[in-house]
């Protein structure tokens, strides 16, 4: 694994390796000295063309816990606003000795282009490219789901396990969601079954060729007894009547309201009797896609997702910045 660009091209073994490594990273974050010397002397650049304080802070914390030097390069207030090309910016960062470039960009494919180019030798981590993918978000979601799934099934540790047999329902703006795309491919790789619930206007043309089951009705989708329900954030710009009439109508039909929460409260993780879980990538629109009661429900894993984000990003940076995967020799 040289770059992390998408979950669509992430192999099962690599996905498991990231998740297993992230479990150990999570253990580090709970000890007194929350720092590892692993990436001492190495430079991680956060190249953010889009505002996302959450994701940037998460990557920054991950890099710093591995003792890397972190350079934050934000499009705002930099030469990007004056029209410097991605190529020139990346070559500049490369000349400064970047070992990894974490890129967030509104243009789909920008991370892949960077990785395919000869502009830099750095490892590339896609931190969200347009409406294409956001692989570390899907990995942290999988880490969160796997812990519950393994525990419910009596495993001592989630290490080495996958999500075989799990049924995950993703609700909302699938069309514009990089989170939904990354989750779809990773969940499938890990053996889970994926369902979508969304208005037809927010499902992409061609979705019928995806390995997922689509529902126009959230109630029908919940009746299919998912083990986990993932709500996607409804972007304000979609609410203007172009994709659905009003926010209120969206909430009525596709929101996790208090009434629907009572349905989710009866759902379980497989046959285990343990309660199903609720995820949200954040930030939430309370009262739109998720009611306040649902957001604060004990079934909700939103704070775990945030904590797991740091662990997953530590794992990814560690695995990308360590070289070949030869069998280690005795020392």
């Amino acid at each position: 694994m040289r770059h992390l660009l998408s979950t669509a091209e992430l192999a099962y073994d690599d996905a498991l390796r990231i998740l297993d490594t992230a479990e150990e990273m999570a253990a580090v974050t709970s000890r007194e000295v929350k720092k590892l010397p692993t990436l001492r002397g190495r430079t991680v650049v956060n190249l953010f063309y889009e505002d996302s304080t959450r994701t940037r802070v998460s990557f920054e914390a991950a890099a710093k816990r591995l003792s890397a030097d972190v350079v934050n390069f934000s499009a705002k207030g930099s030469s990007v606003s004056k029209g410097e090309s991605l190529k020139d910016t990346v070559q500049t960062l490369d000349a400064m000795g970047a070992d990894a470039i974490v890129i967030r960009h509104s243009a789909a494919g920008s991370a892949a282009q960077l990785a395919a180019s000869d502009w830099s030798e750095a490892a590339v981590v896609n931190a969200g490219d347009g409406t294409h993918e956001h692989p570390t978000q899907a990995l942290l979601d999988a880490l969160t789901l796997r812990r519950d799934w393994a525990a419910a099934h009596g495993q001592d540790s989630p290490r080495g396990t996958d999500l075989a047999g799990m049924k995950v329902l993703i609700v909302g703006d699938i069309l514009h969601s990089r989170v939904a795309r990354s989750n779809l491919w990773l969940l499938r790789t890990l053996g889970a079954e994926v369902h979508f619930a969304a208005p037809a206007t927010l499902l992409p043309q061609g979705v019928e060729q995806w390995p997922a089951t689509g529902h126009y009705s959230l109630d029908d989708a919940l009746a299919a007894a998912p083990d986990a329900v993932m709500l996607l954030r409804v972007q304000a710009e979609r609410m203007g009547g172009a994709f659905f009439p009003t926010a209120a109508e969206y909430t009525r039909r596709w929101g996790l309201t208090d009434e629907r929460l009572s349905v989710v409260e009866k759902l379980t993780l497989g046959e285990t009797g343990k309660p199903a879980v609720i995820l949200h990538p954040g930030p939430m629109n309370r009262g739109v896609e998720i009611s306040a009661a649902a957001a604060d429900s004990p079934q909700t894993r939103i704070t775990e997702q945030v904590a797991n984000g740091v662990a997953v990003r530590m794992a990814v940076l560690h695995l990308l910045l360590s070289q070949s995967h030869q069998e280690e020799s005795h020392s």
Partner: protein, 187 residues
């Protein structure tokens, strides 16, 4: 012509068991008991060896609480060769819930070679607390140290050349039954 490697067995399953028994006795003697003793195996083969040492310690001192005081210390993230080799998935670190401050920690590994793993283990340990003392027990010392590190308890000293490989097969890690555990030199 295929150059088939030449192998010679230097320890049998019985040798390994005897060596662990002896090391357990040495530890108890040098510590004057098992109070404040923590046994930490270094993944991967050090972990089952530490577990077995724990069992031996119980047979010497039934008061030793192996479940609480035998654990694992992963050193993957502390290695100094991460850029050139590495990227092994880290293994779990399991420490006594009471921590390691003030304890005597015995690190356990299968083969002592350059000493770099132990250097990494000492760094890792210092991020978890401040033991009163750290000791080192290894099944095999094959020489060729690159750092000023020595073992306190050695199952067997085996002179080797640098080009030779020492292969340890331990049940629980390698696919061998307990009776077929070996230490072999491959040249």
């Amino acid at each position: 012509m295929v150059d088939t490697p030449e192998t010679s067995q230097v320890m049998s399953a019985a040798d390994i068991d005897r060596a662990l028994t002896r090391i357990a006795h040495e530890i108890v003697e040098s510590q004057r008991g098992t109070t404040g003793l923590i046994i930490l195996g270094i993944p991967r083969r050090g972990v089952p060896l530490a577990k077995r040492l724990g069992e031996k310690l119980i047979s010497i001192d039934p008061g030793f609480d192996a479940a609480a005081h035998v654990g694992a210390l992963d050193i993957t993230m502390y290695r100094d060769d991460l850029r050139t080799a590495a990227a092994r998935t880290p293994e779990p670190t399991q420490l006594p819930s009471a921590g390691i401050d003030g304890a005597t920690v015995v690190l356990v590994d299968d083969v002592l070679f350059s000493g770099r793993t132990i250097r990494a283990a000492l760094d890792a340990l210092s991020d978890y607390g401040r033991p009163q003392a750290v000791r080192l027990a290894v099944l095999v010392d094959r020489g060729h140290r690159e750092l000023p590190i020595r073992a306190d308890h050695v199952g067997k000293n085996i002179p080797t050349s640098r080009s030779e490989r020492v292969s340890v097969k331990i049940s629980g890690i390698d696919e061998v039954p307990a009776a077929e555990e070996t230490v072999v030199i491959i040249r």
